[in-house]
C-alpha cells in the first residue's frame, strides 16, 4: 500500500486516468511513449530534447487513458526551466500513475529518481530501459530484488528495439487496475530539501540487486571517440562532414525536383484542370496559374527538404551532437556561450522554434537570452527553400552548392559575432556552468528516421498548401488593386516604392521588397509572393525564366542575405515572446535582426559594386 507523503495528496479519481512519464534526460522516455501510444514525439540522442510536455490519449478495454511525456530532468528538486515544467505539472494536474524510465546501464546513479518518487509516496512503475546496452556494458540487475526493495513493479525493456515492451505495457494496465485514487503534489522542491535522497540510500538499493562493470573497459564509442574527438583531426573531420552534408543536400535534392515537377504537371492535366472545369474560366485560370503553380514549384523541394531531415535525424540520433558541443565549446566561450549553444544553433537549421525552446536547459537567465537572440539567424529549412530557389536561378550548378554552404557559414558567423558583441557590451554577461553527458553512439533505426521525416514532411506540405493560399491571395490582391491600377500604381507597387529609399541601396526592387514584407509571416509565404508576382499566368517553369531575366547575381544574392538575416517568421517571434515573456526583449530581437540584415546586405551589394564595376 502506498502512503502519500507531505508533498503529495490524494484527489478524487480522474475520469480519464492520467499516466505520466518521467526520468533523466536521454533515457528513452519519448521512444517508449511513442511505442505505448503510437504517437510521434521527437526523439534524439541528445539530453534535453523534450522541453515541453506531450500528451496522447489511448483506449484500453473501452476506457480512455491519457499519457503524458515530460522533459527529462536530473532530479525532482532542480530549478531550471525544464525541471520546473515537470514540478509544475505534478503540482497542478491530478495524475494516477507515474512511469519512471531510466537508462538501466547507468542505474547506479539513475536510481535517484525512482527513489524520489517512492519518497513522495506516488504510485509508480519502473522501466529499466536500454536492455541492449545493459547487456553490452555487462551491467547485472536483479529486477525481482529491485522490485521488492522499491515496492514497485519493475520491467526490463528496450524501447528502441521493442523487447520487453508488450509485458511492460501490460504491467502498466495491471498496475492501473489497483489504483483507486488520483494524486497531486505540492511544493516538491521544498519537500526534498528536508527529505533528501542521500548517496547512502542509493548505494543501499544498488548493493542488493545491481552489479556494475569494471571502470576501465574500452567500448566501441571510446574507440570511435579516439578518432572523432582527436585533438588534431577531430575539428577538421567535423567541418569537412558539415560541408559534405550541405553539398549533398544540394546535389541530391536539386535533380529530384524534375520528377516531382513531372508529377505535378501530370496531376494538373489529369485531375486539377478537369475538376475545376465547373468554375468560370478566369477563376480556374487564376487557381491553376496562381496557388497551384506556386504550390507545384515548391513541392519540388520536398525531396530536398526530406533529404535534409533524413540527415538531421540521423545526426541527432547518433550522439555526435554532444561531441560537437564538446569540440566547439572553447570557441563558443569566446562569445559568452557554450557547447550547448552551438548544438542549439544546429537544431535551428531544422527550425528555429524548437531550438529557442531548447534554451530552457540553460540555467543562467542572461546566457539564455543571449542564445535566444542569436538562434533566429540559423538558416532554417524554410529559408533553405528560398535559397535553393534563388540560387538555382542566379548560380546554377556546382557554384550554387558552394553558395548555399557559404550562406550556412554566414548564418553561423553572424550569430557568433553578434553574441560576442553583446557579450562584450556586458548586458548579457554571465557564466553558466557547463557540463553535458556524452551518450554512447547509437545507430539510428530506419523506423525512427522514417517516422521523424514523415512527420516533418507532412507538416511541410500542409504549411505549404496553407501558406501558398494565403500568400498568393494577399499578393494577388496587392498586385491587382486598386481596380484598374497597373505596375507601380498597385498597392504592391506603392508599398514597394515607398520603401525604395531604404531598399534600393541593397539592390532589392519594389516587388521583391513587398515579398520580404509578406515574408514576415513565413518564408513559404515569401516564396509564394515571389511566385505570384513574377509567375502569375505563366506557369511554374516560366517563373524561373522570368526572374532570371530581371535579377542579376548581385541583386539576387543581396536578397538572399537579407532573407537569411531578417525576422524568420511570426511563429519564431511569438516563441521568443512566449519564452522570455518580455515584449521589450522581443522587440529588441526583431530590431536587431532587421538592422543586421540591412547592414550585411548593404555591405555586400555596395562592395560588390565597387569591386566589379
Amino acid at each position: 500500500m502506498i502512503v502519500a507523503s507531505s508533498a503529495s495528496s490524494v484527489q478524487t479519481k480522474n475520469k480519464i486516468p492520467r499516466i505520466v512519464f518521467i526520468g533523466q534526460p536521454n533515457t528513452g522516455k519519448s521512444t517508449f511513449f511513442n511505442t505505448v501510444t503510437k504517437s510521434n514525439a521527437g526523439v534524439a540522442n541528445w539530453p534535453g530534447l523534450t522541453v515541453d510536455f506531450m500528451q496522447a490519449n489511448l483506449d484500453n478495454n473501452g476506457k480512455t487513458y491519457e499519457f503524458v511525456d515530460l522533459p527529462g530532468i536530473y532530479d525532482l528538486e532542480g530549478f531550471t526551466e525544464d525541471e520546473l515544467v515537470v514540478q509544475k505539472f505534478l503540482e497542478n494536474y491530478n495524475f494516477d500513475l507515474i512511469v519512471c524510465v531510466i537508462n538501466a546501464s547507468q542505474i547506479d546513479r539513475q536510481i535517484l529518481m525512482p527513489l524520489q518518487v517512492q519518497r513522495l509516496g506516488l504510485p509508480c512503475v519502473l522501466m529499466l530501459n536500454m536492455a541492449d546496452e545493459v547487456k553490452r556494458f555487462g551491467v547485472k540487475i536483479n529486477t525481482k530484488e529491485l522490485s521488492e526493495t522499491l515496492n514497485m513493479p519493475v520491467f526490463t525493456i528496450s524501447a528502441k528495439y521493442g523487447s520487453g515492451c508488450v509485458l511492460a505495457i501490460q504491467g502498466i494496465w495491471d498496475k492501473l487496475q489497483t489504483i483507486d485514487d488520483s494524486y497531486k503534489c505540492s511544493d516538491i522542491a521544498n519537500f526534498f530539501r528536508s527529505n533528501k535522497v542521500t548517496d547512502n540510500d542509493m548505494d543501499e538499493v544498488c548493493k542488493i540487486g545491481v552489479e556494475m562493470p569494471s571502470e576501465d573497459v574500452t567500448t566501441f564509442s571510446n574507440r570511435l571517440d579516439s578518432i572523432l574527438l582527436n585533438r588534431v583531426v577531430g575539428l577538421p573531420i567535423f567541418f569537412i562532414s558539415m560541408l559534405a552534408v550541405f553539398l549533398a543536400i544540394w546535389f541530391v535534392g536539386m535533380p529530384l525536383q524534375d520528377p516531382v515537377g513531372n508529377f505535378t504537371d501530370w496531376l494538373q492535366g489529369a485531375a486539377i484542370e478537369p475538376s475545376l472545369s465547373f468554375l468560370p474560366k478566369g477563376f480556374s485560370d487564376f487557381i491553376i496559374n496562381g496557388p497551384y503553380a506556386g504550390f507545384a514549384a515548391l513541392l519540388g523541394f520536398v525531396p530536398l527538404v526530406a533529404f535534409f531531415f533524413v540527415v538531421m535525424t540521423a545526426l541527432e540520433d547518433s550522439g555526435y551532437l554532444s561531441r560537437a558541443a564538446y569540440l566547439m565549446d572553447a570557441l563558443m566561450r569566446a562569445a559568452g556561450l557554450d557547447g550547448r549553444g552551438f548544438v542549439l544553433q544546429l537544431f535551428g537549421f531544422g527550425c528555429n522554434v524548437p531550438a529557442i525552446m531548447g534554451t530552457r536547459t540553460i540555467r543562467s537567465k542572461t546566457q539564455r537570452l543571449l542564445s535566444i537572440l542569436i538562434i533566429p539567424f540559423a538558416l532554417c529549412s524554410a529559408r533553405l527553400q528560398v535559397f535553393v530557389f534563388f540560387l538555382g536561378i542566379i548560380l546554377p550548378g556546382i557554384v550554387g552548392g558552394f553558395a548555399l554552404w557559404l550562406l550556412y557559414i554566414i548564418s553561423f558567423v553572424v550569430a557568433f559575432v553578434l553574441a560576442m558583441i553583446f557579450n562584450l557590451s556586458g548586458q548579457f554577461k554571465s557564466k553558466d556552468p557547463f557540463v553535458i553527458e556524452l551518450p554512447p553512439y547509437r545507430t539510428p533505426t530506419f523506423k525512427q528516421v522514417a517516422l521523424n521525416v514523415w512527420s516533418e514532411m507532412t507538416t511541410f506540405v500542409r504549411n505549404l498548401a496553407i501558406f501558398m493560399i494565403i500568400g498568393t491571395c494577399i499578393t494577388w490582391y496587392l498586385t491587382n488593386y486598386p481596380g484598374g491600377a497597373e505596375g507601380m500604381n498597385t498597392y504592391a507597387g506603392r508599398i514597394g516604392t515607398f520603401f525604395q529609399p531604404l531598399m534600393a541601396p541593397l539592390g532589392i526592387n519594389p516587388l521583391l521588397t513587398v515579398s520580404l514584407i509578406i515574408g514576415f509571416v513565413a518564408k513559404e509565404v515569401q516564396l509564394a509572393a515571389v511566385a505570384t508576382m513574377y509567375g502569375l499566368g505563366e506557369g511554374s517553369d516560366a517563373l524561373k525564366t522570368t526572374l532570371g531575366g530581371v535579377i542579376t547575381f548581385r541583386q539576387g544574392f543581396s536578397y538572399c542575405l537579407f532573407s537569411l538575416l531578417y525576422v524568420p517568421c511570426l511563429t519564431t517571434v511569438a516563441t521568443i515572446w512566449g519564452e522570455t515573456k518580455s515584449a521589450r526583449f522581443t522587440i529588441f530581437s526583431v530590431t536587431v535582426s532587421m538592422v543586421v540584415a540591412w547592414v550585411v546586405a548593404f555591405g555586400f551589394y555596395q562592395s560588390w559594386g565597387l569591386i566589379f564595376s
Binding site: Y74, G78, Q106, M212, S221, Y326, D329
Partner: protein, 85 residues
C-alpha cells in the same frame, strides 16, 4: 597543509581517481549545479577518469563510474574534489 586535488588537476595519464566531495560556490546556481553533478554520478566514492581533453585543453571528457561519460569545463571540474589512488 596539502592542497586539495580536484578533477581539473587530473591528467589522462593519471588513470582513475576517487571522488571525495562535490562543492558549490555558494550561489543558487552553484547549489543547483552541485545537485546536477551529483545526479550525473559525481558523488563521494565514485571513480573518475579523464579520457581526453578538447583541442583547446578544455573541456575534459570524463568517465564517471563505469558507464557514464560527460564533458565538463575546467572551471566546473574544480568543484569536484578527488584523491588519487
Amino acid at each position: 597543509m596539502t592542497t586539495q586535488l580536484t578533477l581539473s588537476d587530473l591528467d589522462v595519464s593519471d588513470g582513475t581517481a576517487m571522488v571525495v566531495d562535490v562543492v558549490s560556490d555558494g550561489s543558487q546556481i552553484g547549489d543547483g549545479f552541485r545537485d546536477r553533478l551529483i545526479a550525473m554520478g559525481l558523488r563521494k566514492g565514485k571513480t573518475v577518469k579523464v579520457l581526453r581533453k578538447a583541442p583547446a585543453g578544455d573541456p575534459y571528457q570524463v568517465r564517471v563510474g563505469s558507464t557514464t561519460e560527460i564533458a565538463i569545463r575546467k572551471t566546473e571540474a574544480k568543484l569536484v574534489l578527488i584523491s588519487k589512488s
